[in-house]
């Protein structure tokens, strides 16, 4: 009986540790998602190089001499770029949860606009 009780206590402690660990892991996961999101935002809104091509648009732009000249020469236009399309966030969207969140927020916006 005592042995069993000991084992019980041990198991309980293990469970508690696991729960604590769980919280930590989830925090880590969350911060990683945020990191992906932030990096992605930075990457996709990077003006001069992104315009010549990125992982989404392909890198053909680097092959064209004419467009490159323009892009490299004018830095003035870099300020007025079009806003990011959320569907372009392929990295963040590879997470199911983020996709869900995005869909939910879009839905909310729609209902808001309908009001």
């Amino acid at each position: 009986m005592d042995e069993q009780k000991k084992e019980y206590e041990k198991l309980k402690k293990k469970l508690r540790d696991a729960l604590v660990q769980k919280k930590q892991l989830e925090a880590k996961w969350n911060s990683l998602e945020q990191e992906v999101y932030d990096k992605e935002t930075e990457y996709l809104s990077q003006k001069p190089s992104s315009r010549m091509g990125n992982i989404l648009l392909g890198f053909q732009g680097f092959n064209k001499s004419s467009s490159a000249q323009q892009i490299l020469s004018d830095h003035s236009h870099s300020s007025n770029a079009q806003p990011l399309d959320d569907n372009d966030r392929i990295f963040s969207l590879s997470s199911y949860l983020f996709a869900k969140q995005l869909a939910a927020s879009n839905h909310q916006e729609q209902t808001k606009s309908n009001d």
């Binding site: 019980y8 892991l25 990683l32 998602e33 091509g53 890198f59 949860l97």
Partner: protein, 806 residues
Amino acid sequence: MPAPAVDSSRFRHRKISVKQRLRIYKSHEIKDLEQEDVSAISSQHQQRELMEIETGVEKNEEKEEHLYKILQSNQLRENKKDLFIPTPDASKTWDEFDRFYQGEFKCPTSYIQFSAQLEDCCGTLYNMDEEDEIFLADLNKSLADSVEPLTEDEFELIMANFESSIKDRQPFLSMDPESILSFADLKPTMLKNDVGDSGVKKELAKEIGMPEDEPFLTMFDNKRPLGKREKNMETLIELFGEKIHDHWKQRKISRHGCDIFPQLKSERNNDKDDNDPYVCFRRRELRQPRKTRRIDVQNSQKLRLLCQQLEYTKDLALTVAKRERAVLEVLENEKFVFQARAQLKTMKRKLGIDADNEDLYSAKKQKLVSSVRTIKQQQQLLLQKQLQIQQQQQQQLQQQQAAITSDSSVKRAKSSKSSKLHKEDSGLYADEKGSEPKKKGPKTGSNKNKEQSLSSAQEIGAQSPVANVSNVQQQQKQASSQVYVKLPNSKIPDIVLEDVGKLLHSKEKSTRKFVEDRMRKRKQEDGDIFFNLTDDPYNPVFNLSIPDNVSPQDAPFSSVAGSKFEVKTSYYSPNLQNYITGTANDIKVFNKEGEAVENNEYKKLEFFNPFDNEIHTHSREFPIAFRRRRGRFNMEYIDQRKTDHNINDMLLQFIDLDGIQKQELDNDVINVYDSKLDDLSRSYYHWKYDSNYNIYGSKFSDEPAKLNQISNDTQVVRFGTMLGSKAYEQLRDATIKYRQEQINKRKKLNSLQQQQMLQKGQQPINNAPHSQSSSPPSHQDTRKNPGSTPNQSSPPKKHVTPNAAA
């Protein structure tokens, strides 16, 4: 005689050019030529000549043996059946195919995509040959029992490592193969060297944080058999390096320092050998683009950007991989928790413990919610922060103001309150930043924040104006509505919206137009002959009296006011069905007062049945059918039947065409002036195309009101108004004229009076009545002058009456 003409027919003749000189052969030379022609020497000469003719094949290819033969035979017109360009036989099948290509291929629904290079798939870049096989067998035999034998894959790996290392260290080994480095020298390079993709994989695994003993597998990798682990490069080199190095060195020297594994031969710099058939890729002769410093700079910048891009991409991909790894850990943890709980429960039941339940259940059923703050949310948060900072500042300001007026105790209380608020706020931000990542979505968090700000605003409400709250709300509204783009007025597309009324209106208009057009067409067909008042669908059947000066055909367009037409009688057939079939016999007649009148004249109104062809007759003059019919009000109509059928049939009734033709054909010479046939054919066309109607529409004079595409009604109204305005203008002019004359008259009168006054200065009082009585005759003079209009006669009368009274 020109030279080419002499050549036999089997040669292609060259074009005779004006610029080219032609040799003239004399008679004694021709004999020789013929002899030459036959002789073998000449044929050789001709062959040389032949090749000069364009074959249409590229010059250097012409010399290819088979093609050359074919071309020659072609020109010599020899038998070319047994001449062909040999091609490899592709008709045979390969017996062993099934041995090497196993498995079933299922065609995927999408395109087959493959982006990996060949080198990515075939493992190490070294393939064993027979010599290596023998060596490996020997090596494995000589090994001690404790050492695991070297597999072929591992051998290839090591060999590849040797090859790449030596390339790194001694790139010009082929100049002096004997100077090859020893194993000890090569070893450090080999250890550092990354052969195949194992090094990359290791690095990637390290970056993601995979445990060391776990293999890093991508989707391109084959699944390794369980239990068998790839040996580490270091241990391999340690174990077999020395021995393999000897073997490798031998082979390398025998290959004169080149790669052991045969490489594709390609052209080296500058040494071009067109005759070497083993050169795989030949360089194309291209003009080198001119290099400028600008282009160099640009290209290097491009490369830098590309590198940057790729690095970013790699970084992102790695972060994603890390995230997935974290997710895996979470799931594993979850699984462990679940199992532990299950165990704990059973144990509790056994031991009969009824406490410590809080760990057994998760507090709530947690829904997995991602809490990534998107840009919009971040913006919102920022806005709210700013708002709160503003509020706090306001608060402080108010407190300071209050502090001036109120006593110190109140002040203390307030400041403590505000600081508490401040603390609460900051704590909330800390929360937002990640202390509770899972429980609430960012939306709820921000809501809470909003509530907080609102409540704090209300708390201050006693001192601060209520407008503050609404201000906050307004700003929040603005923030949320910024999502939508406001278009400037100039950019909103200019579309006139259709409404039902308009649509119906246009529809009715078009139907009206359609009916009108139909009616007009019929009017054209009727021409001058018929005047049909029933044309107007909007009128009932009337019997009108047309004014004398209006001709019936112009009546519908006449601008004479409608009142001049007088409706004498109107007719009405109550049964439309009967009317249409022409059997109506109760026609009601009304006079212009609207009273029913005894109807004994018409039992039947006009009805034209176009299919009734019993009535028509043939005229002698024209081969055309006419029909006479009596219409309404005893009006007589003559209809011409349409001549749509072959007019020749009818013509033949009158004229013996065949006879004429025969007669005409009998004569050899046709007399144009007397020819009956010609005359007939011309008159035939005359009948065919001449008509009483103008096919391009009615004559211009027929529709006087159709000017400028203005409808009849409008024209009438316009004309009427024009008349009216003209009359008005005339009247006005006349009045003005009259008034001026009146004034002139008055002036004259006055001067006359003054003269009289001067003349009869002694008795001015008696003068007045005299002068007045003298005015009437002068009035009558003026009345004749202004002229014709009767209106003008009225004002002078007024003048007359007082005189008469006087």
